[in-house]
């Protein structure tokens, strides 16, 4: 039993934290979001040079990390600064590629910051159900043709390479019969790019007989995607923890400055105990993330149960922290100008990525019966 970070990870954490402290305050972040891609290409190159992108992948894939603990370190730091560069999209796409042969060059391109990946999996009516895929892939003479609609694809607009799930056999909700394809952005791919409420890039993507190259084995794509989502859940939960930590810190600090009735409002017990509860829940969340991260390589049922338990807590604890942060700040928490509201927005929106509290509680129960 060991809960400490090894030297490499401590260094990774310190490097990233220092870089972000120097280069990534909330004002700069607002500026990056206004750039053409919805993030800063320049920052992305610097992240690549610092080795932060490579930390998400193991050596066999061209990276130098790839463990759950690496994801925790990287994404917690990103969450503290609301970093909007496409780390999550790269992790999802890259994790799919890392499980199969034949795509090492593309993954290396992503790690060096040249290629941009996105995993186009969710569909307008699939909600959070991973096995629901109606996008079809048909084999033509020398290729596969993909047709269908994908929704809220993280990093979909800025991606140079799309990894698309499509049904090659079975019914719409079957786990078997899903395959993954690498699809280039041609005229047969229509992309509607937009920014999410909390400022991240996403897209609605339609495919009409778009050419695709099969990734891995036909009909065996579900495992690739589920594995990528498990890593994604560990990552975004860690990011949420970082964001929640800052929201809590900002709130505690604010109660020391803000005076009402002649005293700092932090002197009021009604607020003190609520903030103490926020700290308790942050420790709960950290432990749950450790459980999810530490089981990323465990057998499927355990891995997925820990992931769902963790994402459930991200949603419930996140709501508590976000709402309390705004409430304790009072009117200031409602303003665009003051930082805490942006942190609160990201915390709440994370509940809608990879499945919300209700979805994961139900999934946790279902997995427990297997």
């Amino acid at each position: 039993m060991d809960f400490t970070l090894n030297d490499d990870r401590r260094m990774l954490s310190e490097t990233l934290e220092r870089f972000l402290a120097d280069n990534y305050d909330i004002e700069k972040r607002h500026g990056f979001a206004m750039q053409e891609d919805g993030f800063s290409s320049d920052m992305w190159q610097q992240f690549a040079e610092l080795g932060i992108i490579g930390a998400m992948f193991d050596e066999a894939s061209g990276g130098f990390g790839g463990e759950g603990a690496d994801l925790m370190v990287v994404f917690e730091a990103l969450g503290k600064h609301l970093v909007i560069e496409p780390f999550l999209a790269t992790l999802l796409g890259g994790t799919v590629l890392s499980q199969v042969d034949g795509h090492k060059a593309l993954l290396e391109g992503a790690i060096s910051g040249e290629a941009f990946l996105a995993l186009a999996h969710g569909e307008p009516s699939s909600r959070y159900e991973l096995s629901t895929v109606t996008t079809k892939a048909k084999q033509s003479a020398d290729n596969w043709e993909i047709s269908g609609d994908k929704s809220v694809v993280l990093g979909g607009g800025s991606a140079t390479h799309l990894i698309v799930s499509a049904r090659t056999s079975g019914d719409a909700d079957d786990e078997a019969g899903i395959s993954c394809f690498l699809v280039e952005k041609t005229d047969n791919v229509v992309i509607r790019n937009y920014s999410t409420l909390d400022g991240y890039g996403a897209a609605e993507i339609s495919f009409e007989k778009a050419k695709g190259i099969l990734i891995g084995k036909e009909d065996k794509g579900f495992d690739l995607i589920e594995t990528a989502y498990a890593a994604g859940i560990t990552a975004i939960s860690s990011e949420a923890l970082g964001t929640m930590t800052v929201a809590t810190d900002l709130t505690v600090e604010y109660t020391k400055q803000r005076k009402q009735f002649g005293v700092p409002i932090g002197k009021f017990q009604a607020l003190q105990h609520r903030m103490a509860d926020m700290l308790i829940e942050l420790e709960q969340l950290r432990s749950s993330i450790i459980n999810a991260a530490g089981n990323l390589k465990s057998e499927r049922n355990l891995r997925e149960r820990e992931a769902s338990g963790c994402k459930y807590l991200v949603g419930t604890i996140g709501r508590q922290i976000a709402e309390e942060s705004i409430q304790i700040h009072g009117g200031m928490g409602m303003t665009w100008e003051y930082a805490v509201g942006h942190f609160a927005k990201h915390i709440i929106m994370i509940d809608h990525v990879f499945g919300d509290t209700d979805h994961h509680l139900e999934r946790y129960i279902a997995l427990g019966r297997k």
Partner: protein, 398 residues
């Protein structure tokens, strides 16, 4: 980062399991699992069994006859004991007084009292709370006035758990009214058989006699029974409160309660199907399981850190608050799982040798009573509000 138990730890777990199979009587484990009443003989029996094996003082270093176990070993032992239905050891001498004696007691006191705690000669109880000093413990008024070689003690202690069985009581007493309130408190050991000591039962809402009031009327206590220095008792008491962290989170206890809850929910029927299949009830069970699973890791993180020498801090307050919320939620779910059979209650049925047909399932009788009994958990050992105060002061800096 590594969540796996080592091979040694896994074989330790096996060893504990085997020991429990061979040495914990079915009579005793049944009583514990059904929530029936344990008497002094039951508790003494288990105390002696563990002592014979050398596994009684899990928190003591080897030099005093303890196990010298690591945090993870203690955690494993706690989990296995609860899972097997072993009675919990009575903590007052073992886990509360002993660490204070080891740290602040004289060599004579250590040599005299520690072996007697192990062999069961002395049953200890705790004299902290008073009618006017609960959460505000420093306002305690029981006085000890020095007269030659003795202190003369007058006052009243309350909520004294299992004081009806005790041979000795360790007390916080006021030896000075000058200066800060905390600086006039001393830590005194008092023989319960001294003239002037009176024990009166307090019956709790579940009908049980678990706690007592203790009255001191001109009780003569030898000065040799003072632990450490006069007027330094507050420091010792605070040390005690943060020292013993293994059981604070109630992990083993809640694990066992969750297993039992799942069993009840699978046996109870709703519309012809197991209650555990009901989406709403299943959701409530899953929520508490997820919380417990996370707290288990929080607990291990804190224990492993403490093993490597980290100072005791507000983490134990976090464990206390969350651990008791979870345990009480499990009590609430068990009560609800029973449906109407939470209602019947027989005090006689909690006694050993009760032979009548149970009303409803045999596990039902004690469940609702236990729900009420465990309301104590968020009140004792520093109420959960006091724990939040500690977090406010130490972690929030407010």
């Amino acid at each position: 980062m590594d969540l796996a138990y080592t091979t040694e730890e896994n074989s330790f777990r096996e060893e504990v399991r085997k020991f429990l199979q061979e040495n914990l009587s079915t009579r005793l484990s049944q009583k514990v699992k059904l929530g029936n009443r344990l008497n002094k003989k039951d508790m003494t029996e288990w105390h002696e069994t563990l002592n014979a094996k050398g596994w009684l003082a899990v928190n003591w270093p080897k030099q005093y006859g303890g196990t010298g176990w690591s945090a993870v070993q203690k955690h494993i032992f706690d989990e296995e004991c609860w899972a097997a239905g072993a009675p919990r050891t009575v903590p007052f001498g073992l886990n509360m007084l002993a660490p204070v004696l080891m740290k602040f007691g004289s060599e004579e006191q250590k040599a005299h009292y520690l072996p007697r705690i192990l062999d069961g000669t002395d049953w200890w109880c705790q004299g902290y709370s008073e009618p006017g000093a609960g959460s505000d413990l420093a306002s305690l008024r029981t006085s000890a006035v020095r007269e030659g070689d003795h202190y003369i003690v007058n006052g009243q202690k309350t909520w004294t758990t299992l004081g009806q069985y005790a041979d000795w009581i360790f007390c916080l007493v006021r030896t000075s009214t000058e200066g800060k309130r905390q600086e006039g408190i001393s830590f005194l050991l008092i023989d319960m058989n001294t003239p002037g000591v009176t024990v009166r039962p307090i019956i709790l809402i579940d009908g049980e006699h678990e706690v007592n009031e203790i009255f001191f009327d001109n009780v003569k206590v030898p000065v040799a029974n003072l632990v450490g220095e006069e007027n330094k008792g507050w420091t010792y008491a605070k040390y005690l409160l943060t020292h013993e962290r293994t059981g604070t989170a109630n992990i083993g206890n809640s694990n066992a309660a969750l297993v039992k809850l799942k069993q009840i929910a699978s046996e109870q029927k709703k519309a012809g199907k197991p209650l555990s299949d009901d989406p709403y009830f299943a959701a409530r069970m899953a929520k508490v399981e997820i919380d417990l699973n996370a707290l288990k890791t929080t607990n291990l993180r804190i224990l492993v850190e403490a093993d490597s020498g980290a100072a005791a801090g507000p983490e134990s307050s976090m464990l206390k608050v969350k651990g008791t919320i979870i345990r009480q939620e499990l009590n609430d779910l068990a009560r609800r799982a029973l449906g109407p059979y939470a209602l019947p209650f027989s005090s006689e049925a909690m006694e050993e040798g009760y032979n009548e047909e149970p009303i409803g399932p045999d596990y039902a009788n004690a469940i609702a009573a236990k729900y009420f009994n465990n309301r104590k958990m968020s009140i004792y050992a520093g109420s959960n509000e006091i724990q939040r105060e500690i977090i406010t002061k130490t972690k929030l800096g407010l």
